[in-house]
């Protein structure tokens, strides 16, 4: 479904991604784990078309999408929940969702909002509330709901657990699984390796711009190197 081949991204003189290749098959949850500065968010941003590539190709459904502008990539069915949620604080919950459906027609809007509220009932109770006044967990839910408004086939999630209490994290991860079971493919970036490996089917480990390990999530979870470096055992 999505394929990155030898992708190089640099910020000025520094290479953030030094030629990474990865594949996401339809229906999967793929996790991308790694430490701070490993290049996880850069990977997602380059898939979304926000950051340009210096080398390599990204293809989606067999067509190259690298170099295409961000709004076109959303139209093709790839949507991102950016790191730190990036909710529009001065807009209400409803308005945030409406912005999410910007690439869609008006008819699909109300249908999409209903779906978001059935997935996240708390958002429905707060539809008139400003995004900035929501709690961290609710903001994360809103960010996911907003990204789903464009009806993506592939959802990119950047650190959905960031700054949230463990109980909220497990709730959000449950919802991510639900979204996947309803037919959306997911590429998940996480620092919380334990939770990510439990959720994902397959995973890639990213270290300073290179993929150092890949495989089934259940295998990686038992790998002694991973255990030591990412699971704190």
């Amino acid at each position: 479904m999505l394929e990155l081949r030898d992708v190089i991204v640099s910020y000025g003189m520094i290479d953030a991604l030094k030629g990474i290749s990865l594949i996401v098959e339809p229906g999967e949850i793929v996790a991308l784990i790694g430490a701070n500065g490993a290049g996880k968010s850069t990977t997602l941003m380059s898939i979304s078309g926000v950051t340009g590539l210096r080398g390599g190709t990204i293809s989606y459904d067999g067509e190259p999408i690298s170099g295409r502008p961000a709004h076109e990539i959303v139209k093709r069915g790839i949507s991102q929940v950016p790191e730190g949620r990036r909710i529009f604080a001065g807009m209400t919950v409803n308005e945030n969702l409406e912005i999410g459906a910007f690439s869609r027609s008006k008819e699909e809007l109300s249908e999409g909002i209903e779906r978001a509220f059935s997935l996240f009932p708390t958002l429905g109770e707060r539809r008139k509330q400003l995004g900035g006044t929501l709690s961290g967990g609710e903001q994360q839910m809103l960010a996911i709901g907003r990204a789903l408004m464009s009806r993506p086939k592939l959802l990119l999630l950047d650190e959905p657990s960031l700054g949230l209490a463990p109980i909220i994290v497990s709730r959000i991860f449950k919802i991510i699984r639900e979204i996947n079971e309803q037919g959306t493919t997911i590429l998940l970036v996480e620092q919380n390796a334990r939770a990510a490996l439990r959720l994902a089917h397959r995973a890639y480990v990213l270290e300073t711009g290179k993929i150092v390990m890949q495989g089934k999530a259940s295998h990686l979870e038992k790998d002694p190197g991973i255990k030591k470096a990412y699971l704190g055992e």
Binding site: H71, Q80, A89, G90, M91, I99, G100
Partner: protein, 383 residues
């Protein structure tokens, strides 16, 4: 690095730093001025020390409270003004009142109208899309000169002139915006600042086309059903019509899908991009529309004065219009109208203090930024 202890002494600092400032300027300014600069510096240092004192904090809190109370009153008033009855009364007053006033007041009201339309246009660019435009008046100049030249050289009449002025301004906005708006960051502000100056300099020097600093006179007046608009009252009604039209157009724009997307871009451009918003195209649209409005206002200005010259389109004008938007409240239509009203009428009321006008603007802007960054009636929440 260690300094002699005396240099770190609080009270010595008050004298020490001004002394240094005085010495520094001594060779350039001579002794008399250097002493004055020394005295001012001592005063400033004293105020600086004072600002860290408790008394100042109390003063500051009192000022903050006063400002937010005033804007709360203004806000409730502006909400009241949205009821149909209040709107009807205001409209009736706006139509009838100038009949009983003399030309001086009519001119001030017309000028206020011009600035309201300009500020609302700039608000699309600064307030909605979040692009800092420091040369807005250049587009007004482009509109005004387009009409002035077409009118004097080709006898073009006012109404098609309005369209021509707006279109020319929009054309230049596309030309300027296409390369700069693709970049993130402050390039846009710098480029527009440059454009403002370049436009004025070109108008000043291209004698064969613009008649240089002498300007173009005998610009054609608007003709409506055979009647030539020429009195102050005629032009007042014309700008009133344009202003009302502008308010309605802006209201429609701001509550539309596009308006919401602009707010998204202003709040968080990267998030807006990942939502599938074509940020470049929408920013360009805001810039072009806002500039077209400036061009249109320029045409009106040229027709009213029957004369255009480069000195009407200085950097100061751009700053004034920007102040109206910031002071009144970015993104709020009543706020911007209030801002324009205040900045045009207050200097007229305080004509005796004209020399200190810029000083007062500066102080007012700084106070607003500290205590109420969203403007008097602004709705935009800070990040």
């Amino acid at each position: 690095m260690t300094y002699p202890r005396i240099l770190n002494n609080k009270f010595f600092n008050i004298v020490w730093i001004p002394c240094w400032a005085g010495l520094l300027v001594l060779p350039v300014t001579g002794a008399g001025k250097a002493i004055r600069i020394f005295a001012v510096a001592v005063g400033l240092m004293f105020l600086w020390r004072l600002s860290k004192h408790d008394a100042f904090t109390t003063l500051r809190n009192a000022a903050a409270e006063k400002i937010s109370k005033t804007s709360a009153v203004l806000m409730s008033f502006s909400r009241y003004a949205e009821s149909p009855l209040a709107a009807a009364i205001t409209l009736a007053l706006l139509i009838l009142l100038p009949v009983f006033l003399n030309d001086y007041y009519r001119d001030i009201m017309t000028l206020t109208g011009i600035y309201i339309v300009l500020a609302l246009g700039l608000n699309l660019i600064v307030g909605q899309a979040g692009l800092l435009n420091l040369g807005y008046v250049a587009f007004s100049a482009i509109g005004a000169y387009t009409y002035a030249i077409l009118s004097t050289k080709f006898g073009l009449s006012f109404w098609p002139g309005l369209v021509a002025g707006a279109a020319t301004a929009a054309f230049f906005a596309v030309l300027l915006g296409s390369p700069t708006l693709r970049l993130r960051g402050d390039y846009f502000a710098i480029v527009t600042l440059g454009l403002g100056e370049i436009t004025r300099i070109i108008l000043n020097n291209w004698d064969s086309l613009t008649n240089g600093p002498n300007g173009i006179s005998q610009v054609g007046r608007p003709v409506l059903f055979g009647y030539v608009l020429h009195t102050t009252l005629d032009f007042y009604y014309l700008i009133l019509l344009i202003a009302i039209g502008t308010v309605f157009a802006m209201k429609r724009l701001m509550t539309s899908r596009i308006g919401r997307a602009w707010i998204a871009i202003r709040e968080d451009e990267i998030a807006a991009e990942t939502m599938g918003i074509n940020t470049f195209r929408l920013k360009l649209l805001a810039f072009v529309l806002g500039s077209a409005w400036a061009g249109l206002t320029g045409v009106f200005f040229a027709a009213k004065m029957a004369f255009v010259s480069p000195e009407s389109f200085t950097f100061f004008e751009s700053v004034m219009i920007l102040c109206m938007v910031v002071l009144g409240g970015m993104g709020s239509i009543p706020g911007i109208i209030l801002g324009a009203l205040l900045l045009i009428t207050l200097p007229e009321v305080f004509r005796d203090f004209q020399d200190y006008r810029m000083l007062a603007f500066g102080v007012a802007l700084v106070l607003m930024m500290v205590f109420r960054p969203q403007g008097l009636l602004g709705t935009a929440k800070g990040k």
